[in-house]
């Protein structure tokens, strides 16, 4: 990949993450109350509250707070969480890793399940199995992660086939990954079918290349490009979908942390969560773009 272009993309992503975190910091500050409101309601004595405000920098003007915060981000110091009384960076890294693990497992599942099935249904459009798979895909496609997670949990409760125990990766990954698998299957199916109808594939078939090789090597390579193109979108949707899944299956990810932070009015933690979310998304997008550039030489010059 073009090195200068890659560097430019990384810098743009960094700027984006910093801007978004700073914006989240400002917005969260606009919310009524601050980190000491709950202490105030609980009747903690004023001196303690004043000490806490000083420690969190709340006694200084807002512009100074913001500047300190942005300067902190540049050194990867996200401040201290008022709610958990721990550095935000370590807290966010821990939960962010959980969310990333969930998203990665879902993506892996979707890829392993969706792409081969898509090639199969695309190459054998008239086989009854393909139609069955297509119908199932369309049904699963209409299950957003929230519905899929609740459905799987209901299945687990009523049949005992799956483990609904919190901390188990399988159910959340399935809930998040199945809809993505379905959309990848549909896409790969269409792409394979288009590739099979292209003149060069017809010529290859006429020259007597065996059908299996034709489908799994020649057509698969051509259909890679449109499919890899959606991986950036898929990563974004995994990320927003994981919020619902984390809540339903009690997965200790970023989404839950964000919820706690917003409810507690913990500004630095809110901004930290947005920072982590932005980083995950940016990394995902960069990887997706890299893959696309690898699969399609044309992207390397223009993107």
């Amino acid at each position: 990949m073009n090195l200068a272009l890659a560097i430019r993309r990384v810098i743009a992503a960094l700027l984006l993450v910093i801007t978004v975190s700073a914006a989240a910091f400002v917005l969260a500050r606009l919310a009524p109350g601050d980190e000491t409101t709950s202490d105030f309601i609980a009747g903690v004595d004023p001196a303690t509250i004043a000490r806490k405000r000083e420690r969190l920098g709340l006694d200084r003007p807002f512009a100074v707070q913001l500047a300190t915060y942005v300067w902190g981000i540049l050194r990867l110091d996200l401040g201290e969480s008022a709610r958990f009384e721990r550095p935000v960076a370590s807290l966010v890294a821990e939960r962010g890793a959980n969310t990333a693990r969930l998203a990665f497992a879902a993506l892996l599942l979707a890829t392993v399940l969706g792409l081969p099935l898509g090639v199969l249904t695309g190459a054998h459009a008239r086989w009854w199995g393909s139609r069955l798979i297509a119908v199932m895909s369309i049904a699963v496609l209409a299950c957003p992660p929230l519905v899929a997670a609740l459905g799987l949990l209901y299945l687990a409760v009523s049949t005992g086939w799956l483990s609904a125990a919190p901390g188990h990766l399988f159910v959340p990954a399935l809930a998040l990954g199945l809809p993505v698998a379905a959309s990848l299957e549909r896409l790969q199916s269409q792409a394979t079918r288009d590739a099979m109808a292209a003149p060069d594939l017809l010529a290859a078939a006429a020259r007597g290349i065996p059908p299996r090789r034709l489908v799994w090597v020649h057509a698969a390579r051509q259909s890679l490009r449109p499919v890899l193109g959606v991986y950036g979108i898929v990563i974004g949707s995994l990320f927003s979908g994981s919020l619902a899944v984390e809540f339903v299956t009690s997965w200790p990810g970023l989404g839950r942390l964000m919820y706690d932070a917003v409810r507690a009015g913990d500004v630095r933690l809110v901004a930290g969560c947005v920072f982590a979310g932005g980083v995950c998304l940016a990394v995902g997008n960069l990887v997706a773009d890299g893959l696309r550039a690898w699969a399609d030489p044309r992207v390397r010059e223009t993107a």
Binding site: A125, A134, I138, C143, L153, A244, Y259
Partner: protein, 334 residues
């Protein structure tokens, strides 16, 4: 398929619009003896033979395990078009619960119908807002070109890679926890419009930018059309795209709304949307003993499925028009 989907969606819209008359009960009234009451069944015949549709009165037999039995002694006939409702029963026989009741003994059917107004309404309004914003900005960018075009498209690219869900939560958090349903409605629609316009703008810009070079646009310009008037001539070329985009945006926003409400940053509390209703079904015990609380999820599934069928996503179950494919040459059909 498409016709069926359109009928389903139209039916949902009518049910939502007419919710106060169709719902047999008020969505917020609490029926003390009906906590976790199961859905009532229609009956047409009993030991005495056939009758007009009727139900049996529910009776709470065990308060601890919340067991209900049907009182088979007496039929309770359905009364059509009485007391301002499409269908109701004699108030003395207790509430009419088509979809069962939640933990507080509220009628789930009524709550579903009223929730549909919020869920579908926000999705529709948000999608329309996104279309409007995207069409205006995209058309302006495509018609103007140059620096303005670059700025608008850069902003669009920027919005596309934002961690939208988190930002929406942060924005929601800037308002007090408990706010008016109407305010949530407006706020959510605006947020969705802001989050979703870039896709629309990209498409409209591409269409307008190509239309701009065509002869009719040149003719309009030669006839003295100003920039605004010119855009007015160019935009109709994007109507088809906008229609498709509306059907594509609706399910996405519906899902986004239900997720936010489910998590607790949307419509919850007294008048929840479908996502807010699902919060009650989340616990394993509720799921086990009152699976009808998952009905909002079923409603979401049906509406999203219908919208997808309407948009033609994955409409390739049937192979349709037959094209020459490499498979035919390589593996002739037996």
């Amino acid at each position: 398929m498409r016709r069926l989907a359109a009928w389903v969606l139209g039916g949902c819209a009518v049910l939502a619009a007419a919710a106060p008359w169709i719902a047999p009960n008020d969505p917020v009234s609490l029926f003390a003896d009906r906590a976790f009451a199961p859905p009532m069944a229609w009956h047409l015949r009993d030991a005495e033979g056939w009758h007009a549709p009727f139900v049996y009165r529910q009776q709470l037999t065990d308060r601890i395990s919340r067991t209900y039995v049907e009182d088979r002694q007496q039929r309770v006939p359905l009364r059509w078009f009485s007391a301002g409702r499409v269908v109701a029963i004699d108030p003395g026989a207790g509430p009419l619960l088509w979809c069962g009741a939640d933990a507080l003994g509220r009628d789930l059917c009524a709550r579903l119908l009223h929730g549909a107004r919020l869920s579908l309404g926000v999705a529709l309004l948000g999608a329309c807002g996104a279309l409007l914003l995207g069409a205006i900005l995209g058309a302006a960018a495509g018609a103007a070109g140059g620096r303005f075009d670059t700025v608008v498209m850069t902003v669009a690219d920027f919005v596309l890679v934002l961690p939208i869900v988190y930002l929406v939560i942060v924005l929601r958090a800037t308002r007090p926890l408990v706010i008016d349903t109407a305010e949530v409605f407006v706020m959510m629609s605006i947020l969705f419009a802001i989050a979703a316009w870039p896709d629309v703008a990209r498409g409209v810009r591409a269409i307008v930018a190509t239309e701009r070079t065509r002869d009719y646009a040149e003719a309009a310009r030669a006839a003295g059309a100003g920039p605004v008037r010119l855009i007015g001539h160019l935009v109709p070329a994007a109507y088809g795209f906008l229609r498709v985009e509306l059907v594509l945006l609706m399910p996405a926003l519906l899902v986004a709304e239900s997720t936010l409400s489910f998590v607790g940053f949307g419509f919850d509390g007294a008048s929840p949307s479908w996502g807010g209703l699902l919060k009650d079904s989340e616990t394993l015990t509720a799921m086990y003993s009152a699976p009808w609380l998952l009905l909002p999820a079923v409603a979401l599934f049906v509406v999203v499925l219908a919208l997808q069928a309407l948009s033609g996503a994955g409409a390739t179950i049937s192979p349709g028009v037959r094209r020459a494919s490499a498979v035919d040459i390589a593996a002739p059909r037996r």
